[in-house]
Symmetry: C2
Subunit: 81 residues, 2 copies
């Protein structure tokens, strides 16, 4: 199974990288881009018997390893079988 996980900075946390991209958009003439925030994406291949087991494992990984819960939010985008 393949799980897609998104890790993003919490809304209150400053994102200078995203801000730089937004400015680059403005410089390229795309003033319509009002805000950009950059996050991380993980594609995780899991050898699991069922969807529930895969989801349990991915949750544990997110909490322990993939996201820093002080400044980041995480979300399991989807699990593909």
């Amino acid at each position: 199974m393949k799980a897609i996980v998104c890790v993003t900075l919490k809304p209150d946390v400053l994102d200078p990288q995203g801000r730089a991209i937004q400015r680059a958009c403005a410089t390229l003439g795309h003033a319509a881009v009002t805000d950009v925030r950059q996050g991380k994406l993980f594609e995780i291949q899991i050898d699991a018997s069922d969807r529930a087991a895969a989801e349990r494992l991915v949750r544990e990984l997110c909490e322990k390893l993939l996201a820093n819960s002080v400044i980041e939010d995480w979300k399991i985008e989807r699990i593909e079988t």
Copy 2:
């Protein structure tokens, strides 16, 4: 409108960061994690009149700014109104 864009390394391109995460999972006792690949996620706020205009703009940004087409693939995950 808010567009969610995923940028991932092409399948042929080595991903040492993802490999390190996969090994960390194994060290933590999660041998079920057979592969991890890390990509980038962009949340883009766009001031557009309609969905089609927003999508056109996001496509242009992906091609020009957000992804390196030599080594990366990009995908508009969704556009939220």
